[in-house]
Every structure is written in C-alpha cells, then in structure tokens.
C-alpha cells in the first residue's frame, strides 16, 4: 500500500464545488475521505449543458483573465509564505523533498498564466482562440467553431500538482463542465489552487468557471465512479495512468452507451542521449538536473541514457555526472529511509556482481546511482531478483549504456518498453539530446521514426513549452469538437 500517508488524511478530504451543496458519501480512499454520491454527480452531469452554455457565452479572453487572476493570487500567497504548510504536507504525501515541492509550487503561476494558455490555444485550435467563442472563417464560406465536448471527467496524474492542472485548465477554458479526480497524494495541492476561483473578483466569467468545475476524490471501487464511467452522459474521459487501472477504466468506458471519447495519457519515460565530442561537463550538469528534478517521476524524466562513443570516454562522463549529481541532489534532499536503502544497496550490488560499473552516493539524503554498461543494459536480471525495485520505485538511478553509434542508441530506445527493468511504460516520450552539431540533424531524423513524442536539449527535459502538444496530441482537440459551417457551395466546385 501507499507508504506515504498524506497529511491530508488528518483532516477531511471532501469535494470542492462552488456555490452548491451536494450529497457526499464516504470513500474507500480513507476513513476521512468523502466523495460525491452517484445521484449528486448525476445531477451535475445532467446540468452540464446549461453550465457549458453559460461558459461558452463568455468571451475566451475573459475566461483567461479569471485564470490569470488565480495565478496572481497564488503568487502573492506564495510570496507571503502562506503555502509553507502545504509544501510540507505535499512533501510528506508525495515523498518528494520539501525543496522540490517549493519549486513545484512556484511553477503554478506559469501554468495558470493567461499568455501561456493563449499561446497554446492559438497554436492548437484551428482558427485560433477566438474560434472557441465564435465561428472563424477558415476558407471562403467555410467556418469553424470549437465547442466543448464535455462534460469531461479527468482522472488525473498522481503525485504532483502541475500535470493535473494542465488538462483541467485547458478543459475549463475550452468551455467544459470539468469533473476532476485528483489522487489522495496531490489532493490538497490541487484543491488549494482551484479554491482561488472563489477569491477572484466577481464576474460572469468567474461564476461560469466556478459552475463548470467539480473536484472530487473517488475510490477505486466507488459506485459513483463506476456509474460515471459506465452510464453517465459524459463527452470525454481523460485518464492519466498505467495498468491495470487503464484497462479497467477502458472497459468501463466501453460499456457506456453515450460513447464518451476516451484518451489515455499513459506512462512514458525519458532517455538522455550523449555523444562523445560535446562538452561533457555541461552534459553532466544538464543530466544531473533532469535526474534530480521530480526524482525521475515525470514522463519526461530520463530514466536511462546512452553514450555514443568509447567506453573510456563514457567512464569519464559517468564520473562527471556523479560529481554533478552529488551537488545537484543535495539541493533537494530526500528523507532517508533504511528499508529503501536496503533495496537500493542490494540492487547496486546485484549490478556490480553482474558486470556493471556502479558509481553511487554515500549520502542517504541524496541516494544517486549511476551504472555504466557496455553496449547492452546490465539491468536485465535486476527486477527478477528485486521485484520491488521497478521503474516506479527507482529514484536518482540511471544506467548509461555506452554504444558505438547512433543506430545502436536508437535501437536501445525502441526496445525500452520490452526491457524488464522498464516494465509498465508505453515507450520513450522525451529524448534529451547532447550531441554534436554535425550529428544533430541525422539523430533527429532517426528519432522521428522511433516513436518518441518530444526531442529536447538535455537539461530542459522537464520544461513544457506553451505551444507543446501532449503525448503527440494538441490538448485542446481532446476537449472540443469542431462545428463546421459553410455558407455557400459555389466555392467548392471542383474540390471533390
């Protein structure tokens, strides 16, 4: 079971709804966890049309201004130290260091920033952000208007705030009644962010957004969740997570006669590619930062690396990366844990006795481990002997495989989902590159065909650009459908 019992459990976890009182029932998520009752959620879903109609009648810019105001409120409170307790609570519930949680909380204003969201909408909505509010001409006599697909149910990501905020904000801004189910671990943080909707200056946009947002925890065997997935007239279910929950949820959605859209943001990981010839010190710095931030728990975090070049040079790089991890990791110290260290030490020794070269930290608060292997991974038998030391449990742990050329590097990348030590991932989402200028174009070409979603400079792998798609898809397209309006047919002559 979840080791880190969230502090949130010390107080009651209950749904967040604005200006409404609805029925709640105890949840299997914990003794003090309340969730919406089936009938309460059903009533909300049925009222979606009017909530969405009201929101759709508010210009997009006004919606964005409300979100922007939330960002400012958050920043002010953060600066005044009002989120200190939340930071500690989140650190305890997620297992991340307090320092990382502080960093995480500081990212929130950027996620809520109107200019970033506007950029995203402009880049991903055909016709631009205005097309969310009115018909926009795409060609002579042909117009698009993007309308909400909702109600939307988001079963969001696990243990940090930002990945949960992103789809929720996009779904809301695009006009959907949005039902968000956070995890117990990130519940408090997510609630703190959206509570700010009640503190923004009163406006039609603010009221419309409040009416369109419902946040509730649902236990895995919740009758409400089951009814929502199997029966309620949802337009979209967005699931963030891995097996076996993904298939269970998919099967439930499959039974729904309303046929909601179903989109999974599955478990991915990241890989670093370093080439001999680049500034190895800089690459080591960049890699250390990527490994330490979020302790490799983001889908973009590098959990493996390839070094294209000689084994001896790779060894040199490994030592430099170890030095950098030693200093970068101490900026985000983790609470030491004997049991976890016992497993980690066992894994390190397993790899050593299996032929791998292991460099590791001696500081329990910063338990980094680097493994250097020649041409093939040394982690093959690891999970067989230490089943609990799987990808999701490994922190600040990275194997660098030295390979002679880029083809072998891409081969390793492609085979990652089949690697026993990486069981559970769908593939490599993000590739962080530190390769020479000369190799870059060919490397990128190879990666385009290798199934990755993001190609980035090493060191910036965790950063999301405002216009970025998610897992290969523009997020707005998940939450909207296009109404096509043609005012005349003459222009189409000869087109089909």
């Amino acid at each position: 079971m979840c080791k880190h019992v969230p502090l949130a459990m010390s107080h009651v976890v209950e749904p967040l709804l604005f200006d409404r009182k609805v029925e709640t029932v105890p949840s299997s998520g914990g003794p003090k966890v309340l969730e919406l009752s089936p009938s309460a959620l059903k009533d909300l879903v049925i009222s979606a049309a009017s909530a969405q109609r009201e929101l759709a009648s508010v210009p997009v810019e006004e919606r964005l201004q409300v979100i922007e105001h939330m960002a400012r409120l958050w920043k002010d409170k953060l600066d005044r130290g009002e989120y200190e307790a939340l930071k500690e609570e989140m650190a305890a519930s997620t297992g991340y260091s307090s320092a990382l949680m502080e960093t995480e909380l500081s990212f929130v204003p950027a996620v809520l920033g109107a200019s970033n969201i506007r950029k995203n909408l402009e880049a991903s909505v055909q016709g631009g952000a205005e097309a969310l509010y009115r018909f926009v001409e795409m060609d002579e006599t042909e117009m698009f208007r993007h309308v909400p697909i909702g109600p939307v149910l988001i079963i969001s990501s696990g243990n940090s705030i930002v990945p949960t905020l992103i789809p929720t904000v996009v779904s809301l801004v695009t006009g959907n009644l949005t039902i968000l189910k956070p995890s117990i671990a990130n519940y408090s943080g997510v609630i703190e962010v959206f509570k700010l909707l009640a503190e923004v200056p009163d406006s039609r946009a603010a009221r419309a957004l409040r009416s369109a947002l419902v946040i509730s925890y649902f236990g895995h065997d919740s009758p409400t969740l089951k009814a929502a997935l199997e029966e309620m007239p949802l337009g979209m279910v967005n699931f963030w997570g891995a097996e076996p929950a993904r298939t269970i949820v998919a099967n439930m959605v499959g039974k729904n006669r309303n046929h909601p859209r179903f989109f999974v943001n599955g478990p991915f990981t990241g890989m670093a590619v370093i080439e001999e010839g680049v500034d190895l010190m800089q690459a080591a710095d960049d890699l250390a930062l990527d490994v330490v931030l979020y302790d490799q728990q983001l889908c973009s975090s590098p959990t493996s690396a390839v070094f294209i070049g000689s084994y001896e040079k790779a060894k040199e790089f490994l030592r430099a990366a170890g030095d950098r991890l030693e200093s970068a990791g101490m900026e985000f110290p983790l609470p030491p844990d004997q049991d976890r260290m016992f497993v980690l030490q066992g894994a390190r020794r397993f790899i050593q006795t299996d032929g791998g070269l292991v460099l590791s930290s001696k500081t329990p608060e910063n338990p980094w481990t680097l493994v250097l292997s020649k041409e093939r991974s040394s982690l093959g038998g690891l999970v067989g002997q230490f089943p609990s030391f799987n990808l999701f449990a490994r922190r600040r742990f990275l194997e660098v495989v030295a390979v002679p050329d880029a083809d072998r590097a891409v081969e390793l990348l492609r085979s990652q989902p089949d690697h026993p030590a990486f069981r559970g991932i769908d593939g490599v989402q993000s590739v962080g590159l530190a390769v020479t200028e000369a190799s870059l174009p060919r490397m990128v070409e190879r990666l385009v065909g290798a199934g990755v979603h993001r190609i980035l400079p090493l060191g910036d792998m965790f950063m999301r650009g405002a216009v970025e798609p998610y897992d290969g898809v523009a997020m707005t397209s998940l939450f909207t459908r296009i109404v096509y309006w043609r005012t005349g047919n003459a222009i189409l002559e000869g087109q089909l």
Binding site: M1, C2, K3, H4, G29, T94, G95, I155, S157, G158, N159, S160, K181, P182, S183, I184, A185, G219, H220, D221, W240, G241, A242, P244, A245, I248, V249, N265, G266, P267, F268, Y294, Q297, L298, C299, S300, Q338, D339, R340, M341, F342, V343, Q345, G346, R349, F350, Q352, T353, D354, G355, L357, K362, P364, Q385, F386, S388, N390, F392, A393, R395
Partner: protein, 420 residues
C-alpha cells in the same frame, strides 16, 4: 548422507590439494579454536580472508574480474573490501548462487533452501562435500562451546519440532540432525510433513507426531535437548496455558508434562526465524513465558531456569551465530567474520552499540565466496569471550513498496495500482 559419511567424503575432497582449503580443513579439524585468544583469532581471520580471496581468484575468472572492478587486491584485502563484496541474501534466490560458484565445483553435495515463508522464491545454496564436512564440524564445535560443555557420545535425547524430510531441505534442520548424529545422540522428530501437494510452505504443512512427542517427554535420558522454531515454544506455552484443570491432569498422566522436564544439562534451542508468525512476542518475553513450562538442572544437578539457546543460521551461511539467553549474546564461529554495516551508507560500523546490518564472511566456505547480508539489524558489544565481541539481534529490515504509486505522470486510482 550421515555424519560419518560426510566427514569421510570431505576428507577425500580433491580441493584439499589447494593450500587454502588444506589450511582451513586443518584449522577446523585441529586443536580447539576456542582456546585461542580473540587477538590470535582476529589475526587468523585476516590471513584467511586474504587467502580465501586469492583462492577464489585462482578458481574462477569471475572473481578476477569482480575484484578488479571493485579495485580489491586479494593479497591485501581488508574487512572494508569484504564489506564491499557482500551481497544481499535476496540475490541467492532461485538460481542466484550459480554465478558465484567456482569452476571446479565438486559434485555430490547437498542443496539447501530457505523455508519460503516470505512468499518469494526460496534462497538456494549448494554445499559441496568438503563444505558439508566443514559445516558439520564447525557448527558442532560452536554449539558445544555456547552450550557450555561437550555433548557426550550417545548420551541424552533430542526432540526437533520439525519433520525428518526437512533434513534435506533446510540447513537448520540439517545442522541439528548431523550434529546429533555425529555425537550418537538420539534425535526424535516431533512433526510429520503432511501431503506435499497441499499449498503452503513446509512449515505450514506440519502436524504433530504425538508418538515421538510422548517418547521424548517420558524419556528418562539426560540431557534432553528441545529444538524448535521460536513459534514452536510460543505455541506450546499457549497450549499449556489454555488447558483446563481436567485436561492438564490427563495430559500430565499421559506424558508427565507440563512442565516439560529436560533433566541435567537440558536446554531449549530455537532457530529458523519467525516462520511466518507475525505476532510472536519479543524473544526475552517469549523465553520468560516459556520458562515456566520447562524444568532443567545444571550439570551438578541444581535446578536452574531452563537455558535457552538461539541459532541464527540462515541457509546462506555455512556456520551459525548462536547465543545463550542471559549468558552469551550471539557469537559466530571463530573463523567467521561477522560485521555490521551502516544501514544508510553500508560503510562498516566500528562503534559498539550502534545498529547495523549484519554481514557475514565465511572464509572456510570453498564453493563460493560466502559474504552476504541477510537484512537483520543488530548491534555488537565487546566481550571477554573468544570472539572479542558479541552480537544482539534487533529487527529485520522489510521491503516497503510505497513508491510504486508515486509516479507524477499517472499513477492515480492508487488502489488499482496496488492490485497487480
């Protein structure tokens, strides 16, 4: 194989032509090591440590490569180097030992496995003929030393609350069986192994052999040696405590117990861990609860609190650590190196009283470099005994799996995630 056959086959081992194995053999079978001072023994262990590593380098290219990668010079190896080589016992599950076995491994030995009560693949360790002989002699010597006297040939009777089939599976059972066989002491098995097709580990498929139990209880032989897992003593005590007056009288008429009279030199020997019983009391409490159900005399015939000895003898160690409750904390064999590792850094713990993960290096094991840590947290303190220090068991580390759920991108519906 019985004890005599094991000793004879050990003496015929081809490996005895190797100077290291010959030296080990002579030390184990020679004059009592317990007469040497702790300093002498420490110096002996240091030279054996280096010879042992050199032996493995001679007999397996695997170790040459391993020592090179870990920057260990066998001829100068320190205890710190040995600590670097220690592997977790989990690595010996299934076929894990294979990679560590020497090239010219002698066949005809025995393979022992752990009881499997953890629900994982059992630890499996092969013992060659010469290793078996060393195991038999070394454990017998250590047992007698902690017991406080030599077990006299053919005198006394022992009851082991295990089934005879386990002699060829579990090392603790083998150790007891062979030691008593070597001394010609009658050993009764107090349990039967039920239908093997049933689910569960061997320890969960045992039923009482009432005939042997009664035979032991009614026997007039002295001393009586009672071997069991700690849970066995606990359950027996509970059974006696819960007997009504009538039932107690009837049992006493049939067997003479309770209490169980162990006679002069009688002792209760526990070993083998908790065997899946999660609610056992702490060992001192367990002993205190149980002592009222056993009666013993010292060798002079004076009634004493029944002595309890505990054997920490896991599958992966050729020799055990044994204590005598209230007299001697756990001590290893004189040639075995027991050390503590800091649970956070895995550096050697030098200070007395500080908790550490117990590591064991047995330089007299010849089939594989036997240096490992099973996951027991212990402390040590200096002592006037042969080893110069003694070890106290604290607790066992457990593997928690909470981080399974901590993925940032995904991992919600957490209860579903744990039901794989």
């Amino acid at each position: 194989m019985n004890a005599n056959e094991i000793m004879e086959r050990g003496a015929r081992s081809q490996l005895l032509s190797d100077p290291h194995v010959k030296r080990v053999w002579d030390l184990i079978n020679g004059e009592s090591l317990f007469k040497k001072s702790s300093d002498e023994l420490a110096s002996l262990r240091e030279s054996l440590r280096r010879e042992s590593l050199q032996f493995f380098a001679r007999h397996s290219p695997y170790y040459v490569d391993l020592f090179e990668r870990l920057e260990i010079d066998p001829a100068k190896a320190t205890l710190r180097d040995v600590a670097k080589l220690a592997i977790p016992s989990d690595m010996l599950r299934g076929d894990g030992q294979k990679r560590f076995l020497i090239k010219d491994l002698e066949e005809g030995g025995e393979t022992f496995s752990s009881s499997g009560t953890t629900g994982k693949d059992p630890v499996r360790v092969y013992r060659s003929p010469v290793d078996l002989a060393i195991m038999l002699k070394a454990n017998t010597d250590l047992f007698e030393h902690v017991y406080g006297d030599l077990l006299k040939e053919g005198e006394g009777v022992a009851l082991f609350m295990a089934a005879p089939e386990l002699r060829y599976k579990l090392s603790f059972v083998a150790f007891v069986d062979l030691t008593l066989d070597k001394k010609g002491i009658e050993l009764l098995y107090g349990m039967d192994l039920e239908d093997k097709s049933q689910a569960g580990t061997p320890w969960q498929k045992l039923t009482t052999n009432k005939e042997n139990l009664l035979k032991f209880l009614k026997s007039k032989k002295e001393p009586k040696l009672f071997f069991t897992a700690p849970a066995g003593v606990h359950i027996l005590g509970q059974k006696f405590d819960n007997m009504g007056l009538g039932q107690r009288m009837a049992y006493k008429l049939a067997s003479g117990a309770p209490p169980i009279r162990l006679g002069k030199g009688g002792v209760v020997v526990t070993g083998g861990g908790s065997k899946g019983f999660a609610d056992l009391p702490e060992y001192p409490q367990l002993v205190s609860n149980a002592q009222k159900h056993f009666v013993s005399q010292d060798l002079a015939g004076k009634q004493v609190d029944t002595p309890f000895m505990d054997v920490l003898g896991m599958t992966e160690t050729l020799t055990a650590l044994i204590d005598r409750f209230g007299v001697t904390d756990k001590v290893p064999h004189p040639l075995s190196e027991a050390f503590l590792l800091d649970p956070m850094t895995f550096e050697l713990v030098e200070e007395e009283g500080r908790e550490g993960v117990l590591g064991i290096f047995n330089p007299f094991t010849t089939s594989w470099l036997e240096v490992f840590y099973p996951g027991d947290i212990m402390t040590c303190h200096s002592s006037k005994g042969f080893y110069g220090k003694e070890f106290v068991y604290k607790r066992r580390l457990s593997v928690k799996e909470g981080w399974d759920l901590q993925r940032a991108c995904g991992g919600t519906l957490e209860e579903m995630m744990t039901k794989q």
